[in-house]
């Protein structure tokens, strides 16, 4: 499929992003091979050991292997980020499509709602809900998704608005096609580009918000773990127990950079002005 302009050869941002994310992904996938130790097995007598040959990344309070926990926690972080992004993208796309295609009062009300939700400082309100409700991983995914769909909805709406008045849509409407068919077959594929770009960037944002919540003690709750919560384990003494705070922080940083790079790369590559 060659709908893209010929800019593919020199997209450094894309390449380096893919490599970064690929490496982190391989780490998460093959991590258990690096360390034979189960991430839950405790050894209370070997608590808070610095890195050594038996524990490459040291141990935490319970003498659990930090490397194993980084792998396990990373998977949770990724699952949360990807699951809530997936949900946010779906919610945002459907609302955006619906709102733009219906137009009129519905559009006005939906867009006001989007304004309202965008006006919430994200961390503030997620803090509010997660803090007031009992925090569980699934609640976290839901809340993160429910407060992230608005930008997607806006992008979809504005794209649909611009596509809607293009002549090809007028033409297929004149052919007598049904509305759902027009929306999903003709409009949707043409707005997916910007949606993909912003959802990749959204993954980064959600990873950052989740780790901030964990820092405030509201994110993923033990005995489950995420990079944010592992980092938070080391928060009591970030320098003294650097093997808890530094690797987790660096992994968050790397992943976020990776997704940002991919997002930027895609943005360049899908330079949508040139498609139509």
């Amino acid at each position: 499929m060659k709908i893209l302009p010929q800019k593919t050869q020199t997209n450094q941002s894309m390449t380096s992003g893919c490599i970064t994310i690929g490496l982190v992904f391989i780490f998460l996938l093959l991590g258990p091979l690096l360390t034979p130790i189960n991430h839950t097995s405790q050894n209370l007598s070997a608590s808070l050991q610095p890195p050594s040959s038996s524990h490459w990344m040291g141990t935490d309070y319970y003498g659990r292997d930090v490397l194993a926990r980084l792998v396990f926690g990373g998977r949770i972080t990724w699952i949360i980020a990807i699951a809530s992004t997936f949900m946010a993208v779906n919610i945002g796309t459907i609302i955006g499509l619906f709102s733009a295609y219906q137009g009129g009062w519905i559009d006005l009300i939906v867009m006001r709602l989007v304004d309202v939700m965008l006006a919430f400082p994200k961390l503030f309100v997620v803090l509010l809900i997660v803090g007031l409700g009992a925090s569980s991983t699934s609640l976290l995914i839901w809340v993160l998704a429910l407060f992230s769909w608005m930008e997607i909805a806006r992008i979809v709406r504005s794209e649909v608005m611009s596509q809607k008045n293009r002549t090809y849509i007028k033409s297929v409407r004149a052919l007598g096609l049904r509305t759902p068919r027009i929306v999903f077959i003709h409009i949707l594929p043409n707005v997916l580009g910007p949606v993909i770009v912003s959802s990749v960037l959204l993954i980064s944002t959600i990873i950052l918000v989740e780790s901030s919540l964990s820092f405030l003690g509201l994110g993923v709750q033990a005995p489950s773990a995420s990079w944010g919560s592992i980092l938070n384990d080391g928060r009591i003494d970030p320098l003294g127990t650097w093997w808890l705070s530094v690797p987790a922080g660096l992994l968050i940083l790397t992943t976020v950079i990776g997704f940002n790079l991919i997002g930027n790369g895609l943005h360049k590559q899908l330079d949508l002005k040139k498609i139509v």
Partner: protein, 260 residues
């Protein structure tokens, strides 16, 4: 042409008013812009009725109004005696294939993510798909190699031919041609106009042509309406108009043609 007068009109537009809301960010109250301001005309089967005027005079709004893409403020649009403004959306949709538009901007007229063959798959019955597609493409002068292509791989003239083929695929009675050749370069222009003329004959089509380009008007039109600021200045058969223009505005136009 005189004979057509005895026939039933295929399209009858009476006292059409169209206005557009002017969107502006954040506000609730919207301002309106009058685009079409009391236009009436009748088109008979087989004829080519042409609306001529400067860009922005409201020509395209008439087409949008007939296709039901803008809300009509007052007035009626009768297609084969049915008032389109009073139809339910469902019934309107059923009637749609009868009236097909061809727009100026061929770049935007095709879905960039759809292969040519998929365009026809949407409307043609499955068992006839292949044969009918071939037939349609050849009738607009395209070879069948292009069916695996995406629109951006075609030239401007090819795209406009595909647009025509798509419109013909639903067997329309009335084609609404909105500046169909204006964006094409001169040689392609002539080919497309010739194609239109032959299609009109072979398929017994009626045209409503909208243009500010007088060469195509000269080649295609039977009757011409001159439009300015949302209103018709005059409506005449082409020959009458050329001989005896009533308005100064019309005269200016005709001078341009003679200069060509």
């Amino acid at each position: 042409m005189n004979s057509s007068r005895q026939k039933q009109p295929i399209l009858e537009v009476n006292n059409l008013h169209v206005e557009y809301p002017v969107n502006f960010r954040g506000g609730f109250r919207r301002q309106k812009k009058q685009a079409v301001n009391g236009v009436s005309f009748t088109i008979f089967p087989g004829e080519c009725f042409t609306i001529v005027g400067e860009s922005g005079c409201g020509k395209s709004s008439i087409i949008d109004a007939i296709l039901g893409f803008v809300k009509i403020k007052t007035g009626t649009v009768l297609f084969e005696k049915q008032d389109l403004t009073k139809l339910t959306p469902k019934n309107f949709r059923k009637l749609r294939p009868k009236i097909q538009p061809v727009f100026q901007d061929y770049n935007q007229a095709l879905n960039p993510h759809q292969r040519i063959e998929d365009i026809f798959r949407e409307t043609l019955p499955k068992h006839l798909l292949e044969s009918q597609t071939d037939q349609l493409l050849s009738s607009v002068g395209l070879s069948k190699e292009i069916i695996r292509c995406f629109p951006h791989q075609l030239s401007g003239g090819q795209k406009q031919r595909v647009v025509l083929a798509r419109a013909l695929s639903v067997n329309p009675a009335l084609l609404l041609l909105d500046e169909p050749v204006t964006s094409l370069d001169m040689s392609v222009f002539v080919q497309i106009v010739e194609l239109l003329i032959s299609l009109r004959k072979t398929r017994n089509l009626t045209f409503l042509l909208v243009s500010h380009n007088l060469s195509i008007v000269h080649l295609l039109a039977d009757r011409v309406a001159i439009m300015k600021n949302g209103q018709f200045l005059e409506q005449q058969p082409l020959t009458t108009l050329l001989r005896n223009p009533k308005h100064d505005y019309t005269k200016n136009f005709i001078n341009q043609i003679t200069q060509l």
